[in-house]
């Protein structure tokens, strides 16, 4: 069947089987391999992308189910050569070690800050409870998200002044 999905602002169309999972559609069709395919059982969160702004696990979503919806992947975070504050936070606070869980962590926490710009550590930990990291340790990830929240506030304050 012809499946057309808006991914990072671009319509992407391909003839696929109905059983094609969103994670494979994203990785195979536009070749956006930033979204990682991990446990395949909706447990690990490496495959998280945003669907209409909300984080979803793309290994447990059919591509066909996403027609008419907007998908955002980790590749959409950097804009005009500038990293998203979330990405900068993970860089500054050593929020990644091997990096496998990072795309899902970044998209999950991007959605968190979009909804709640000043989360507590407990709220950050709840938000990432569907994303498993096996090497960095969650402490640095929480610090990275907090860093991003603080610097995002600064950035939007600067924007308002300007």
């Amino acid at each position: 069947m012809e499946v057309k999905i808006n991914i990072n602002g671009h319509d992407v169309a391909r003839d696929v089987e109905p059983r094609t999972l969103l994670v494979h559609f994203i990785r195979d069709t536009p070749g956006l391999t930033g979204t990682h395919w991990g446990c395949d059982t909706s447990n690990c969160g490496a495959c998280v992308v945003l669907m209409d702004g909300k984080p979803v696990k793309s290994c447990t979503t059919l591509a066909a189910m996403c027609m008419g919806h907007e998908i955002r992947t980790v590749e959409s975070l950097e804009q005009d050569g500038r990293l998203d504050p979330i990405q900068m936070g993970f860089h500054e606070k050593h929020g990644l070690h091997c990096g496998f869980c990072t795309p899902g962590m970044l998209m999950t926490t991007r959605a968190l800050l979009d909804e709640n710009p000043n989360p507590t550590d407990a709220e950050i930990r709840t938000a990432i409870s569907g994303a498993i990291c096996r090497c960095t340790g969650y402490k640095n990830i929480v610090s990275a998200v907090r860093w991003a929240a603080e610097h995002e506030a600064e950035r939007s304050a600067m924007k308002q002044e300007a």
């Binding site: 059982t41 027609m67 569907g130």
Partner: protein, 291 residues
């Protein structure tokens, strides 16, 4: 790589249309909403539908409405909406208790109450919640609607009273005076299915328990309603001794099996302890001792 076996896909544009397709294709067709139970089962070939009807566009099935005598919840209402509902938190706080421990926030963005109930996994939390609250379920088929209570809904593991050409459309939670409710769950790790879970509801009038609902998750082949404990509570003032008696009954009337989540005696112990805890909190809420 895990991928479901091939199937045909259709996106429903109306409830009637979805039911017509169910009727046309027969028992090999399945409805899919959030898909977070069905797709993993299809990947493992535990479910092999030949035809999926995607009902995610049926916005008319997504609502939480307060009526005079009941709260009506559309079957497509997602877990995160149930969690965030102030109405449910006020009227039936057992929902928020349960939703906080169902899977994780990302899964809760997709999973629905209708899907959870129809999956009929005995370890699933909302089935116990709805059973304790004595919910009524609206099932629509080619010949119109019918309503069933939770006591007649589960026929066996992963099997419900919903026919092959029918769909669950609405969950009705009765609103009654003096209500309090709570959910208790023990899990191996955050977001896992329960080792054991208990939902309890009490309706207290004039200092006595006018009615009670107790339902057990993960403690038998289906969600278990502990009728004997409910009867034991009725007409008596709430007390620790009474809760202990209900806990003992729950421990006797559950039917757990030993598995990776624990042995039978441990699960029976949990049935007892969690029943007492759930009743204690439900009662405190009914008596407005707890916000």
């Amino acid at each position: 790589m895990q991928t479901p076996a091939p199937f045909e896909y259709e996106r429903a544009t109306s409830v009637e249309g979805a039911i017509a397709t169910l009727q046309r294709i027969g028992p090999e067709a399945r409805l899919i909403a959030g898909g977070h139970s069905l797709l993993p089962m299809m990947k493992l070939r535990l479910a092999n539908p030949e035809f999926l009807i995607d009902i995610n566009d049926l916005d008319e099935l997504s609502y939480i409405d307060e009526r005079i005598t009941e709260i009506r919840i559309g079957a497509l209402t997602r877990h995160h909406e149930l969690l965030e509902s102030e109405l449910l938190a006020r009227r039936a706080p057992v929902f928020r208790d349960a939703e906080e421990v169902i899977a994780d926030p990302v899964v809760r963005n997709r999973g629905t109450i209708g899907g959870s109930l129809c999956q009929a996994d005995a370890a699933e939390d909302l089935s116990a919640v709805c059973a304790a609250l004595k919910a009524n379920l609206v099932i629509r088929g080619p010949d119109g609607e019918r309503t069933t209570g939770m006591d007649g809904f589960y026929i066996g593991p992963f099997t419900t009273a919903v026919g092959a050409d029918e769909m669950l459309t609405e969950i009705r939670i009765p609103i009654r005076a003096g209500a309090g409710s709570a959910h208790e769950k023990v899990e191996r790790r955050a977001g896992d299915f329960a080792i054991a879970a208990v939902s309890a509801a009490v309706w207290i009038e004039g200092g006595t328990i006018a009615d009670a609902g107790i339902a057990l998750g993960a403690l038998g082949p289906t969600t278990i309603i502990v009728t004997r404990a409910e009867t034991a509570l009725k007409g008596k003032p709430p007390s620790e001794e009474l809760f202990a008696e209900a806990g003992e009954i729950a421990s006797e009337d559950c039917a757990p099996v030993a598995d990776g989540r624990g042995p039978v005696d441990y699960k029976r112990h949990l049935a007892n302890v969690l029943t007492v805890r759930a009743l204690r909190r439900a009662t405190a809420r009914a008596l407005q001792q707890e916000a």
